[in-house]
Amino acid sequence: MKKIKSVEEALSYIKPGMTIMVGGFLGVGSPEKLIDGIIEKNIGDLTLIANDTSFPGVNYGKLVEHKLVKKVYTSHIGTNPESGIQMHSGEMEIILTPQGTLVEQIRAGGAGLGGVITPTGIGTVVEEGKQKIEIDGKLYIVEKPLKADVALLRGAKVDKKGNVYYDHAARNFNPIMAMAAELVIVEADEIVEIGDINPNDVMTPHIFVNVIVQGGK
């Protein structure tokens, strides 16, 4: 089970039309080489699941600029003007979702739950067209699970077996997305020996990780 592969090999798993999750929050904690590779190989028609659409020129924000994304599930597009432009032109479909709902939908996808029962969005446009449920007299929205073909993550330290350790606020969506995709590729700031991460401190267990690529310079 050799998981360490070249960026080129890792990119071969990503096909046009796929649904991809990208870890990160405004580009912090996002894989650089994998995103640049997608742009270089011009892999388009993608459905993107990410917290936001980042900034112009920053990480997965570039996927939008290069018009490689046909649809995005996200909570925020305000930091990348190109998202708004493509939304208005109809080039990109944007499913705006409250951030907490988005992370629970991804978690539900990974955890085998049938959906998420949430009060967030009740009384707003977010509830429109969605199934609702009343529990103990209170109304909730039922949001569907989200899954992806591929998750592209970034770890600070990844051991050769695939155990991942994240640093500071770069953790964010990464460990949740690690559970919700058919194939999980982690770009490692540093690849370390098995055992270098204390088993107590592993943040994404190796069983979720399929491919490791070396990040950094």
């Binding site: 936001d52 925020h76 707003t124």
Partner: protein
């Protein structure tokens, strides 16, 4: 004090020792500077930690240590990092004592609109809907009007962020509490008369019998 400082300073007075608070981007972020030194308030960053400290010295930024606006920050001693699912469990699970946000519009029923102007500006709700739905107390911190446009309404006209969840509105003109009967003006900036404040407010203000002066 300038307008923003008046607002931030007043909001900070709501906090009690041990409170957990989320401060939104922009004006609400300034509130951190006015938290009384004799109480301990923990600030949450929805991108995944508690214990936000002040901005770092130039050159000491850590690219992995930023707030929810991607600005470099530091952490206080005893801070803790977590993933987005825990971060939003904190937010949605009622663990925040206060969330402080700005508004495009807010109304006398406690409705808030702050994430979209259809056809014009669609930034998205980010964590705002979760924050307003989940926090124990929701404080709107904003200038009373925006370029002369009235923002405190009888009823919001923009798409809502959440329905009936706002508890308090703090502006440079005064402090209003959302009550069953409408907006109760509890404190006012002494440089304005009640009539001047009402003139800048669409919702009809109920004037507290115990109306106090705001510290400015």
């Amino acid at each position: 004090m300038n307008i923003k400082s008046i607002i931030a300073n007043r909001v900070a007075k709501e906090f009690k020792d041990g409170n957990l608070v989320n401060l939104g981007i922009g004006l609400p972020t300034l509130v951190a500077n006015y938290i009384p030194e004799d109480i301990e308030v923990t600030l949450q960053s929805e991108n995944g930690f508690v214990g936000i400290g002040p901005a770092p010295e130039q050159g000491k930024e850590d690219p992995n240590l930023v707030n929810a606006g991607a600005q470099p920050v530091t952490i206080n001693s005893g801070a803790a990092f977590f993933d987005s699912s825990i971060s939003f469990s904190i937010i949605r699970g009622g663990h925040l004592d206060f969330t402080v946000l700005g508004a495009l519009q807010v109304d006398e029923k406690g409705n808030l609109a702050n994430w979209i102007i259809p056809g014009k500006m669609v930034p998205g709700m980010g964590g705002a809907m979760d924050l307003v739905t989940g926090a124990k107390k929701v404080i709107i911190a904003m200038t009373h009007t925006a370029k002369g446009n009235i923002k405190i309404l009888k009823e919001c006209t923009l798409p809502l962020t959440a329905k009936g969840r706002v508890n308090m509105i703090v502006t440079e003109m005064g402090v209003m509490e959302v009550t069953d009967k409408g907006l109760l003006l509890k404190e006012k900036n002494p440089t304005f008369t009640v009539e001047e404040i009402q003139a800048q407010t669409e919702a009809e203000l109920i004037i507290s019998e115990d109306l106090k002066d705001m510290e400015i």
